[in-house]
């Protein structure tokens, strides 16, 4: 085998840009300043932007949680009134699910997918920019409800008939409903982009069994998004048709079915739990092998488990509705399916443990957060099995036990991996190191206070404390536990704050990070930190799932003469192109030109933003203006992109 030549490109002293790099910069750099900010289609800038925006919203939702806990710290408290309390828990849930967890994972996916796949951008770079602007627009739209004092207060799932036009007469629910339809566009466009990127832009040689596990987790997530998001779009969209156009779809007096809303909502709502969970465990599966210096145990089992979870997640939604009186046989089936999810989850768990046992674990900050995840997810998984059992669920439904369960899984098993990912990939994204000392403080404060915040909620639930009450009488045996929970929550907030401070400080002042601070195994660690705009001057050739851990180090391709191979080498990067590959073995099939910066995705998103406000204020002229502007920009975009790529 002499396919790999032992010729290495020259290595020059630092700080001397070579002519090649100047040409690359000319081809890839965005326009300077604000124009570049608004027009960029670089997946890395978009990814970081997603993450930063989502973290701002996360901080906001955290403050709302602290507001709720201040109110519940003592019995008969009157810090916030019942209306404000309802608004707080509604917006806390809405932000955490729709505007933090989903987009922040999309942000990491955006940044990492092309790098891990060994390509120079996403399959549809302009659509990618569009997804972000829609996310920003939808978030602004939902939050602007606070400016007009009509904040959604009907719970994050906005059940009818409470949210129907008969009972919710102001515009608060419309901010929620239109916002949900709005953000669905962003999630779906992002998912399609992920799917096609992983299908067609993998580096040569990256066969299915060499795709990094994080990419697999994003793929499983994107598949779920494609088939689940239409359901919530329908739920919220039909609700808005009832509210805005006076339709009768959910009106029980005119033959409408209120339970239909719950079915549609949870048909998305349960896969959504795994839409959040799978990328998070994908992060864990990226970090544990690196921290353990050991390849991931049971790679094929892990991939199978991801796909199995994605599939089974579509058969469990009724477990959110056990208390609504669904037929016993149906409830039994959904209960069984919910229990079955424990099997692939267990497979994942044992693969992580095996990886750690086979290797030598170094508890770096990302690994600490993964370890915290392992402990908390175990507890959350066990309560998950408990609430999947029908009689138990009927006992604890709508009690604090449920609140405890889903915070163990959504906070413990999703937010902890996200924090691990921040510490793991920040050096790659920003080119600077985070303080490990501050990171460890943050971790220990978070992981300990987590138990004080959420464990007592299990007990409170079993003692009968219902969810979504703004206050309670003293002497019911809930007083001490509630105080513990509130103090724990405040301390948890402090732990989160330390990481936010760490990030803000290190962004400009951290020590410069090397290309590969952790000794990583996937392709993103083979490029400089921060990643250059063109990602890879020469496209890597992959013959292992851990291409950086093979004997002799990574291999890159030289450019060829024909259409299939001309973008592989540095000439391809200078021409702003990236290779298209084909088949299970990902062999070079063609060349994809990467479109340049443009205002048009922002313009289309702005049009949709105006449409949403037009619908909100039932104003046909505003609606028409927004739609016309959006469509005009879209047509121009499609035409322009074709011209640009000619």
């Amino acid at each position: 085998m002499t396919a790999v030549e032992e010729v290495r490109p020259d290595v020059r002293p630092e700080g001397e840009p070579r002519a090649e790099e100047e040409r690359l910069a000319a081809a890839w750099e965005d326009p300077p300043g604000l124009i570049g900010f608004f027009t960029t289609v670089d997946h890395k800038r978009i990814g970081v932007r997603y993450i930063v925006t989502a973290f701002v919203l996360f901080a906001l939702a955290g403050l709302m949680a602290l507001g709720m806990r201040a109110q519940l710290a003592r019995p008969d408290e009157h810090l916030v009134g019942p209306q404000a309390y309802n608004e707080l828990f509604t917006m806390h849930g809405t932000i955490m699910i729709f505007l933090f967890n989903t987009p922040v994972l999309a942000g990491f996916g955006n940044y990492l997918l092309p790098l891990m796949l060994g390509t120079r951008d996403m399959a549809f770079p302009r659509l990618n920019a569009f997804s972000y602007w829609i996310f920003l627009g939808a978030s602004t739209f939902m939050l602007s409800s606070a400016l007009v004092g009509q904040v959604p207060a009907t719970g994050w799932f906005a059940y009818v008939p409470l949210t129907g036009p008969q009972f919710a007469t102001d515009r608060a629910v419309d901010f929620w409903g239109l916002g949900v339809v709005f953000i669905g566009i962003s999630t779906t466009a992002g998912a399609i982009n992920f799917l096609v990127t992983a299908q067609k832009l993998r580096a040569p040689g990256m066969a299915l069994h060499r795709i990094p596990l994080f990419v697999w987790s994003i793929l499983a997530m994107a598949l779920m998004v494609v088939f689940a998001v239409p359901a919530v779009t329908l739920a919220a969209g039909l609700l808005e048709l009832d509210r805005l156009a006076g339709m009768a779809i959910f009106d029980p007096q005119l033959g409408g079915q209120v339970l239909l809303y719950q079915h549609l909502f949870w048909f998305w709502g349960h896969p959504e739990v795994y839409i959040l969970f799978l990328p998070a465990v994908g992060m864990v599966s990226s970090i544990i092998p690196i921290a353990s210096r050991e390849r991931h145990a049971g790679y094929l089992w892990v991939v199978t488990a991801f796909l199995a979870i994605a599939f089974i997640s579509f058969g469990v939604w009724v477990h959110h509705m056990f208390a609504t009186g669904v037929p016993a046989q149906a409830a039994g089936l959904f209960s069984a399916a919910s229990l079955v999810i424990a099997l692939p989850s267990g497979v994942l768990y044992f693969c992580w443990i095996a990886t750690m046992l086979l290797g030598r674990v170094r508890f770096t900050v990302p690994m600490l957060f993964c370890a915290g995840f392992l402990g908390i997810f175990l507890a959350g998984g066990i309560t998950g099995v408990m609430v999947a059992v029908l009689p138990f669920d009927v006992q604890v439904t709508d009690s604090y036990f449920i609140v405890a369960h889903f915070h163990y899984v959504l906070n413990g098993a999703v937010v902890f991996p996200i924090f691990a990912a921040v510490y793991h990939w920040f050096p790659k994204m920003i080119g600077r190191e985070l303080s490990a000392r501050l990171g460890r403080w943050s971790f220990w404060i978070m992981v300990i206070s987590f138990q004080f915040t959420f464990f007592p909620m299990h007990v409170l639930g079993l003692l009968g404390m219902p969810r979504r009450i703004y206050t309670y009488e003293g002497g019911l045996g809930w007083d001490t536990l509630n105080l513990v929970v509130s103090i724990g929550g405040a301390v948890f907030g402090l732990g989160v704050l330390l990481t936010l401070v760490n990030v803000a400080w290190s962004w400009r002042r951290g020590a410069p990070a090397p290309a590969d601070p952790w000794g990583g195994d996937t392709l993103e660690w083979s490029v400089a930190s921060p990643t250059p705009e063109w990602n890879f001057a020469a496209i890597p050739v992959v013959d292992d799932v851990s291409p950086l851990w093979v004997e002799g180090g990574p291999v890159v391709a030289a450019g060829g003469e024909d259409e299939a191979t001309r973008s592989l080498g540095v000439e391809g990067a200078e021409a702003r192109t990236t290779p298209i590959t084909r088949g299970l073995e990902a062999r070079p099939a063609g060349t994809m030109p990467i479109p340049g910066p443009t205002w048009l995705p922002l313009c289309v998103a702005a049009g949709i933003f105006v449409v949403a406000f037009g619908a909100l204020y039932r104003s046909i002229p505003v609606l028409v203006v927004g739609a016309a502007a959006g469509i005009a920009a879209l047509v121009w975009w499609l035409w322009r992109t074709e011209e640009d790529l000619r």
Partner: protein, 216 residues
Amino acid sequence: MSVAANALPEAPERPVAPRVAGPDHPALVPAPGGVPIGWWGLAWLVATEATLFGGLLSAWFFTRAAADSWPEGGIAPPELGRISVFTVVLLASSLPLVWGEAAIRRGRVRGLRVALALSFLLGAAFLANQVVDYRDLTFGIRDNAYASLFYVTTGLHGMHVAVGLAVSLAVQAKVAAGRIDADHHLSVRVFSLYWHFVDVVWIAVFSSLYLSTHVR
């Protein structure tokens, strides 16, 4: 397992610069062809859109299963005569696109032009019939859940037909501008995929909203 409090794991010994694979590397043997990226993008969009229609039709049957009578509120079941004819018209509009695609693959622009025009006319006839149908309906969108769902489902499908017709016009403009040939006709492929979807989904809508209401 060992605990190293401060240190990052040492990176394994590894060259600074990567090795270069020659063109004879097995992973670099070209395999030209394959399905274009744009086609895949639309295929996934069609998948999510099909799910949207699936959800809407599920809502239809869910509401029907719980209703005392169907249609609700004494509304007469929809007439089948004319809509059946126009269903055939819509389905027929897919056939010219199959011919057109085959023609342009062999570089016959004229054949494609005729096929696109024919398909457009058939689709436009279907849409015109839907507009006339709405005018003839005896119930409004607010009458009851049956009425609302009927309008939403047929309206959503009608919007898809309208978008398809607009895209068809754009593709026809490209053909007229001489931009489509045997090697560059992705927009024809993508458009016809979308149009086939709009037609196929009508089979489901027609069977559910029109035919099944007559089945008791």
